[in-house]
Amino acid sequence: MTRLRLALFLLSVIQSFRRLSAQSPLDGLALRFASMTAVTGFEQAMGDSLLRLLPGSTRDRAGSVTLTLGQGAPKRLLTCPLDEVGYVVGNILPDGYLFLRRVGGGARLAYPLFDQQLEGERVTVFGARGPVSGVVAVRSTHLTRGRGGPGSPDPVFTVDNAYVDVGAASAAEVERLGVAVLAPVSLTKQPHVYGNRLLAAPAAGRRAACAALATAVRAKPSVQGTVVVAFTTQSLYAGNAGLETVSRLLGPFEETKTVSLPAKYPDTAVETVDLSAAEALVKELVTWMGGR
């Protein structure tokens, strides 16, 4: 079943891949990163992908992936946070529904209705035996009719209202799927390309920025002195532990540059980034690494 789900997931993004992959390696990489999930503190899978993508890179004790280019002085840090605000399974109910706990977010979120985006949408639970599809329950439109007139309360949806339905009818069935408390959960990633090289996805801005950094590194640029490239974890949780760890383990650095891209509709499921801007960022980063 895991393979079937993986195949369905790949099919769901294949159209976007086709639309972008014909344009540039950067576009394809941005789409690939945008289809990944890295809930803050649970970035292991995305770190694995980066390790495979960037030969010579290593993972530090906080989970950040680092790669050292060049040697000597000056020693500079080029960093991209790879995590995202997301959820973990907080409880499994006897009837097979899951409850969630949000990880990260709060005042950091630009979109006040971040949690409401879960309601009635598909989510992916990253269990020990692979990704598991689920949905977040919503009241049936038909059954609300006649049960609340004008002036009825209209409270926003919060994570505490989220019942995740993975199709299981018991806690034991959930367990057999490989899902346990603390399994990461996110909206199912279906990167969507529209307009002229506009990429829409949760955390699209961060993912496109990290894709730009990876592309710049893979271009084997000339480097002035030493440049430590770091894809950092836990930037969205207390203390920015990933970046702090890199700084203490591999620093001090004479200069630190954190890559980012402007995004439209930030912190929504359709956060939109212009891949033309990401392409310009690649050139900027290559220039920066060369000390020019």
């Binding site: 769901s12 529209y194 499921a269």
Partner: protein
């Protein structure tokens, strides 16, 4: 009939009970990840038909892609015709007073009401649903040139309430002319991308199960129909514009008038099988079979007809529940012509959302009861 009370009609003899016990034991000890790979041929066929229908797009008034999918899935011996309202008809059996089955082709969604100077689209809804479920989601604008991707723009105000201000769609353009150059015009329909996705066991999620499950069940019934058993003509209709007022079915009812024996609307039984719903009625659990939709907001099936339907199910050993739910059905527009509407559905969680959930066993059960009714009632 008491509201929401289920009447299981499938009995178990000793051998069947032993087999069931063995199967339950097997399922309990066998890893769940292997179960979907071991679907029965019936479940595999059900998924094959349903998934193709779910992944076709057809907002009310623009059902052509779904209609073509139905035609493609029907057995080759079935002859179809499309009427001026867009309804698809298939007539089978000998001459006489016909029985009609009707499932609707259309789905909820939006239509372009205006194209703004900044290139964005103003929308009008087609059917009833919570607009918040589309907010900040990917969009597809369906045009004669093909589907144009965009996004349902998230709100920039009113963050304290659940329902959004009027939605608009951003297709990545900055002028009306650029948007029109993509083939978008007033009246173009808009949906979200959708996929049929399996959940645990025999459950699945997707959008527009209402009423693609009904469409699929009619296709499956025709595929397995024993034409030699038909005692009277049977008309299968796949109707249009149900979600905006049963409009396609009204045209069918006007055409057939008082000449038909009985109508069976094949449509969703919106189920309260969810922790979010009140348990007052509509509690038909998913996975326990089709449902006699005996009372809804549009029709009441005479109790004697409900009993007859239950007897057909019992005689054919088909799982059937009996209940009452909300919503209207296409069969109700036949009742002014003196035609009894015996609506049949299947339990659906989270109706009119992008995350509707069904159990494929219920879809197969629905197809079975349609076939049994056509052949024997």
């Amino acid at each position: 009939m008491d509201g929401g009370t289920m009447k299981p009609v499938r009995g178990l003899d000793g051998w069947t009970a032993r087999v069931r016990t063995a199967v339950v034991f097997f399922l309990a000890v066998y890893p769940a990840s292997h179960l979907a790979a071991q679907d029965s041929p019936r479940i595999s066929e059900t998924q094959s038909v349903l998934s193709q229908l779910v992944e076709s797009y057809g907002v009310s008034g623009s059902e052509a892609p779904v209609r073509e999918t139905v035609k493609r899935l029907l057995p080759s011996w079935v002859t179809t015709e499309t009427d001026s309202a867009g309804n698809l008809w298939a007539r089978v059996g000998p001459s006489g007073t016909p029985v009609v089955f009707v499932a609707h082709l259309d789905e909820i969604g939006f239509r372009v009401a205006a194209i703004h100077d900044d290139g964005s689209l103003e929308l009008e809804t087609r059917g009833g649903f919570f607009a918040s479920l589309f907010e900040a989601q990917p969009a597809l604008v369906h045009t004669e040139k093909g589907d144009v991707p965009g996004v349902f723009a998230p709100r920039d105000s009113a963050f304290t309430r659940h329902n959004p201000p009027p939605l608009h769609v951003d297709v990545g353009t900055t002028s009306r002319e650029a948007t029109e150059a993509l083939g978008i015009k007033i009246g173009s329909t808009i949906t979200m991308p959708k996929h049929f996705v399996r959940l645990a066991g025999t459950r699945a999620t997707g959008r527009s199960f209402d009423d693609r499950v009904g469409d699929a069940a009619q296709v499956l019934a025709l595929r397995h129909l024993n034409r030699a058993l038909l005692k009277r003509p049977v008309i299968f209709v796949w109707s249009t514009r149900e979600e905006i007022g049963l409009e396609g079915a009204k045209a069918v009812a006007a055409t057939l008038g008082t000449t038909i024996r009985r109508v069976h609307a094949i449509d969703t039984f919106v189920s309260a099988d969810s922790p979010l719903e009140l348990p007052n009625f509509a509690v038909a659990p998913i996975g326990r079979g089709a449902v006699a939709r005996s009372v809804d907001n549009s029709s009441v099936t005479p109790p004697a007809y409900v009993d007859s339907l239950v007897n057909v199910a019992r005689a054919h050993r088909i799982a059937l529940q009996v209940g009452t739910t909300n919503g209207g059905n296409d069969g109700s527009v036949f009742t002014p012509y003196g035609v009894v509407d015996v609506a049949i559905g299947w339990p659906l969680r989270y109706s009119h959302s992008p995350a509707e959930v069904v159990d494929l066993r219920d879809v197969a059960s629905l197809a079975d009861i349609i076939q049994a009714v056509a052949e024997s009632w």
